[in-house]
Symmetry: C2
Subunit: 136 residues, 2 copies
DNA sequence: GCATATCTTGCGACAGAGTCGCATCTCGGC
DNA sequence: GCCGAGATGCGACTCTGTCGCAAGATATGC
C-alpha cells in the first residue's frame, strides 16, 4: 500500500480481523467484531475498506450459495483459486482446490477469448454426515 | 405443480416472462416487466414466486460477479450445469458448458463426499473485444 | 518536532432488496 | 355455483450498501 493510501488504525483492525478469522465473515459480522475493539467504527468504514481491499485484490468476495440470507462473505486471498462447498443442512464450508479446477479455468479462457480476472466456483449440497443423518 | 400449489394468473405471467427473456433478469426487472401486464402485481409476489421456483429447482439464481450492484439474477434451469462468464467492461454475459466442467463436478463430489445439489461457476474478466479496446 | 495538504472517518440521510403479517381475494375440487 | 386452502396485495419493517459533508487523522516536508 503506497501512494496516497493510508494505513489507519481502523484499516489495520479490519484487515487483522479478516486474516485471523477462522470462518468467512460478512460485512455485518466484521463490523460486530470490530466494534468490540473500537465501538465508534462505522458501517461505512467497513464497506469502504472492503471495497478498497477487493479493488486491490487482497480479499475475495463470496456468497456461499446464500446459505443464510443474501449476505456476502469475504476471505483473505490465497495464491490459488479454490472453490467453496457448502452444506445446506449443517452449514459447513469446505474449501477445495485441484489441478482440474486450474485446467478448467485455462480451457474456459482459451475457448472464450476472455482474459480471466476472477473465478468463483460455489457448490451446494449435503455433506457426508448430513447424508447419513437425513436418510428419510 | 401439484398438491396444493396453484397456477395463478400471476405465476403464469412471471414464469412466462422468465422463460421468454433473452437475458437474465433480477427481481426488480422481473417486476417491472410484469407490471406492464398487471399493474397491481406486487414485489412480494415476485419474491414469493422466485422462492417457490427456486425451491422446486425450476430456476437458478446467479449473481454474475456483481457486475452492476448486488442484484441477483434468475434463469430457467437447463438440464446441464453451465458457467457464466461476465465482462467487467461491457457487461456481456457468455454461457459455457463443457465436459471438463462435468468432470470437475464429479471429482469434487468424490473427494469431498458431498451429495451435490447445486453448482455455480462464475467467471469475470475482459472479453476479447474489450481487451483490444483497452490496450492502455 | 511541527505544520499542512490530503486522505479517512463518523455521522446522518438515503435508496434498494427482501421479508412478514394480515385482510381480502381466487383457484380448483366437489 | 360453493367453499376452503392457498395466494395476493398492501403496508410496515429490517437489513445491506451508498453518499455528502464536516471533523479528524496521517504522512510528508521542513
Amino acid at each position: 500500500m503506497k501512494r496516497g493510501v493510508r494505513m489507519t488504525r481502523q484499516r489495520r483492525l479490519l484487515v487483522s480481523i479478516i486474516q485471523d478469522s477462522p470462518r468467512h465473515l460478512d460485512a455485518a459480522g466484521l463490523l460486530k467484531i470490530a466494534k468490540r475493539e473500537d465501538a465508534r467504527l462505522d458501517r461505512a468504514t467497513v464497506y469502504r475498506t472492503i471495497a478498497l481491499l477487493k479493488d486491490r485484490g487482497l480479499i475475495d468476495e463470496l456468497d456461499l450459495m446464500h446459505i443464510e440470507g443474501e449476505k456476502h462473505y469475504y476471505e483473505a486471498k490465497t495464491n490459488r483459486d479454490h472453490c467453496h462447498i457448502a452444506c445446506f443442512r449443517c452449514g459447513a464450508i469446505l474449501e477445495y482446490a485441484s489441478r482440474s479446477f486450474e485446467k478448467l479455468k485455462q480451457e474456459i479462457a482459451a475457448q472464450s477469448g476472455f482474459l480471466i480476472r476472477a473465478v468463483r466456483l460455489e457448490v451446494g449440497g449435503l455433506c457426508a454426515s448430513c447424508q447419513k443423518a437425513a436418510h428419510s
